[in-house]
Subunit: 324 residues, 3 copies
C-alpha cells in the first residue's frame, strides 16, 4: 500500500524535482541550497517584501490549518500575497474533520475548485504526506508543521538565517535545547543543518524529553545544558509546551535554572555565539528576555527570513523552472 | 406591504433583467440558460480558474454568512477573487443579529461603506429577499442558501454539470433522494431541472421527510427508493442532517439500508446512471463511498462548476451588459 | 522613562509630521484639516470607493484587533484594499496576549515579516501608544479605539461628515449624550469639534456616567438631556453598553425616557438639528428608530465617510508627501 511510502519519496517527482515540501529528511543538499538561493533572489526582487511580484498571479493558495497558528499562517499568507496569488484561509477545528475520510473529502472539494497549493498544519504526523499521496490534481502540498514529524520551512529559514552569518559550517558547533523528543522544529533543523555541512550537532533536554538515540544518530545527546553549550557557536532554544514541562520538571523556575538560556550561561558558549528561537517564546522559561533581545539574537531575523523562504518554496513548487 | 412580494418578483427589474439571485422558482428559462452559457464562457476566459479576470476590478463583494459554511463561502470567495473583486468575509453568529432590525442595520452599514454584492446565507427562509427589499443602494443580493427555501447557485451548478453530460433532457429520468421536505437544494434542483426540460422528476424520502404534494406538483413522490430509482438516468443524493434523521429513521445503518445509494442498488437505475451530491457527504449514510468515488459520480465536477456558476452570477449582476 | 510621553508627542515626528495616529488631542488643527481634505480627494479619486487606487501597492496593513469589532475592522480592511495594500486580519482573544511582553513579541514578529501599518484596537487605554513607542521599524500605528481613551478616526469621520453640512462652526451648538465617562468616541469627537472651531459643546449623561469636570473643561456638563438639547444644531448620541447602563439607570425604557432621542424631544433642538451616532445603535434605548432613519440623520453618511477618512490616514502615514 502506498501509504507506507516515506515522505521524501512522495515529495520528489520521477526526475528528482520537488513536487511537494513535506520534510527535509532525505532532501538532496542541492535542493536545499537552491531553495535558499531562491529566497535570497526573492528578497531582492521584492525589495525586502515591499513590492508585489506576479510570479503566482492567478494561482490559488489554501492555508489548511487544523491547528491554530497565527504566526506561521500569517507568514505563508504574506508570502503568497506578495507573489500575487489568491489566498484562502481555511481554519478547521480538528474535531470536525477528525476522520481521514472527511479530511480527504475536504481536500478533494478544494482541489475541485482549483487550488494550486495546500499549506497544511496538523497535529498528527504524516497528514501532509497523506494528503499529498491522495491528491487528484497537480496541487502541491507544503507542510507547515505536522505533529512531532517535521516543519521543513522552519528548518529552511533557520538555515537561511545562519547562512547569512556563518562562513564555514564544517567547524560549527550547534546546540539545540528543549523538548527535543516532541519537536518537529528540532528534527527539521537537524536535517537542514546537516545539509549545510554541520558536523558537531548537540541536542539537549531533560531525560524524559530526550529522543531515541537512533533517530538522532548524528547528534550527541545531553541532559546537562552547560555541557551541551560548551564552546557552541549557535544555540537554538525551543519553545517548551507548558503541559509537557510538568512531566519533566516541577516548575518553570526550575526549568529555567537547568535549561534556560541566561546571559550568564551563554558565557559557556563560544564568543559571539548566535542565539535562535522559532517562537513564540516563553521569556523566563527557556530563554531570558535579555538574551532574546540581546546583540547575538537572530530571532527576529528568523521571522523575516521565514517569509522569503516560504515565497521561495511556493515559487519553486508552483512557478517552476519556466519563471526562472 | 411589499414584504409579501414573492422572491421572483423582487429579483427582476422592470424590464425582466436580473437584479438579484434569490430563487430559480419562476426565473425565465432564458435567464437560466444565459447564466449557464456565461459560466462556460468564464471557464474558458479564466483558463479553468487559473487566470484572474478584471470584470469586477474595484468592486466589493461581502460574504454575509449567518450560518457556518466553509465550502460554499470558499466557492464564492474564489469566484469573486478570480473576477478581480475585493472580498470581505463577514461571519456572524446568528445570535448577535437575531432581530430583523439589527440585521438591516448591519446591511445598511455595509452598504454605506459601498458594497456591490451581498452573498447571504441564513437559516431562515426569505432572509435574502428581505434584505433585497430593504436595500438603500443598487447592491445585488445573491442567495447562498436560506432555510428550506432555495439555494439557487446549487441548482444552477447542478444544471451546468448535467448539461455537460446529457443530450436530451426531455427523456431524462431524475430521482432526488433524501430529506426533501427540509431541502433547499431539492427545491432549487427541481426548478433548474424543469427549466432544462426534464419531465420525469421523482423525489424520494422517508414518509416524515416527504414534502407536501402541492409544493412538488410536477414531481412524483416515493417512499420506496428502489421504485424511485427504477430506470433513472440521474440520482441526486442529499445530505442527511443527523438531527433530522432521528425523527425519520432509527439509525444510520437502517437509513443506508433503505435510502442509501449502494453499488447494488444503483443497478436498479438505467445503465450509466449519473450520481450527484451537493456535499458535504455522509459516506455510508446516504451514499456508499465506492459510489461517491465511482466512475458515474459527478460530485467533484459539481464543485468545480460551482465556482464558474458563481462567477457568472456575479458578473451578470455586477458587470452588467456593458462587459459582455 | 519614555512610557510617560503623552500620545500626542509619540505620534509626531521631529518636524511635526504625522508618524502615527493615536489621538486627536493636541493634534494641530492644520493636520486635522489636511486629513479631511485628503479624504475628500480620495473620495473623488476612487470614484466614491469603486475604483482601486495603487497608492499603497505592495504595502502591508495588519488589523490587530484585541477587541471584537466587525464594522470598524471592515472599514479599515476596505480602506486598505481600495488603496491596493495587502491586508492581514489578525484577531486575538485578549486572554492569549494579556501580558505586555507577549504583546510586544507579537508586534515585533509581525514587524519582522515587514508590515507598514498596524491598525490596533484594544480594551486598555494607551495600548496603541505603547506599541508605537516600542516599534523596531518605521511602521505606523493607527489607533482604532483604545479603552476609554481615543478613537481618532471616529472623531475625524464625524468632523468630515459635519464639514459637509455646516458653514460656520463658530456658532454651532453640539450636544453629545450617552456614557460620556467611558466613551472614547466622545473624547475624540470633542477634540475634533474644537479643532473645527466649535465653541458651544455640551456633554450629557446620567450622573454616574458624567466625566470629571477637568477632563472636559471646554464643555458644559448636563444631567438633563432636555436642557442639553436646547437649541442644539447637532445631537451626537452614543451607544449605551448594556452592562454600564444598569449601574446608571434601572431599565432600557427608563433610559430612553430620560436620555433617548425621540422625535418629540428633538423638537427642543434647533430646527434642522443634525443627528449622529457612531453605531452600532440600540434602537429604542439611546435613539428612536424613526429618528435614526429620519431626514436629519447623518448616521449612514458617517459610515461612508469612515472609509475615506481611513484611506486618508493610511495614505498620509504610508504614502507620505511623495504621492501627493
Amino acid at each position: 500500500m502506498d501509504s507506507a511510502k516515506p515522505a521524501n519519496v512522495v515529495q520528489l517527482d520521477a526526475h528528482g524535482g520537488l513536487r511537494h515540501l513535506l520534510t527535509l529528511d532525505g532532501l538532496p543538499r542541492g535542493q536545499i541550497a537552491r531553495l535558499l538561493d531562491r529566497a535570497e533572489e526573492l528578497r531582492e526582487q521584492s525589495h525586502g517584501g515591499t513590492r508585489t511580484l506576479d510570479l503566482l498571479a492567478g494561482r490559488t493558495v489554501i492555508n489548511l490549518f487544523f491547528e491554530p497558528s497565527t504566526r506561521t499562517r500569517t507568514s505563508f499568507d504574506l508570502a503568497a500575497q506578495r507573489l500575487g496569488a489568491h489566498v484562502i484561509n481555511f481554519d478547521i477545528a480538528s474535531s470536525s474533520t477528525s476522520k481521514g475520510e472527511s479530511l480527504l473529502d475536504t481536500v478533494h472539494t478544494l482541489e475541485a475548485m482549483h487550488c494550486d497549493a495546500f499549506v497544511v498544519r496538523h497535529k498528527e504526523s504524516g497528514t501532509p504526506a497523506y494528503i499529498a499521496r491522495h491528491l487528484h490534481s497537480n496541487a502541491a502540498v507544503l507542510n507547515a508543521g505536522d505533529g512531532n514529524h517535521a516543519h521543513p520551512t522552519q528548518g529552511l529559514l533557520d538555515a537561511l538565517t545562519l547562512r547569512r552569518h556563518v562562513q564555514d559550517f564544517s567547524t560549527l558547533r550547534v546546540a539545540i535545547c528543549g523538548d527535543i523528543r516532541h519537536s518537529r522544529v528540532a528534527r527539521s533543523d537537524v536535517h537542514a543543518l546537516r545539509a549545510l555541512g554541520v558536523r558537531d550537532l548537540r541536542v539537549c533536554a531533560p531525560a524524559q524529553l530526550l529522543p531515541d538515540v537512533d533517530e538522532f544518530a548524528h547528534c550527541r545527546l545531553f541532559e546537562d545544558f552547560d555541557a551541551a553549550l560548551d564552546g557552541a557557536n549557535v544555540a537554538i532554544m525551543l519553545r517548551l509546551q507548558k503541559e509537557r514541562m510538568q512531566a519533566a520538571i516541577p516548575s518553570e523556575a526550575e526549568y529555567f535554572e537547568r535549561f534556560g538560556l541566561s546571559t550568564q550561561r551563554l558565557q559557556r558558549a563560544a564568543p559571539e555565539c548566535l542565539v535562535m528561537h522559532p517562537g513564540p517564546m516563553n521569556r523566563g522559561v527557556e530563554i531570558a528576555g535579555e538574551v532574546a533581545d540581546g546583540p547575538r539574537s537572530l530571532i527576529l531575523e528568523q521571522v523575516g527570513n521565514g517569509v522569503f523562504v516560504r515565497m521561495a518554496v511556493l515559487a519553486e513548487l508552483l512557478a517552476g523552472a519556466a519563471s526562472r
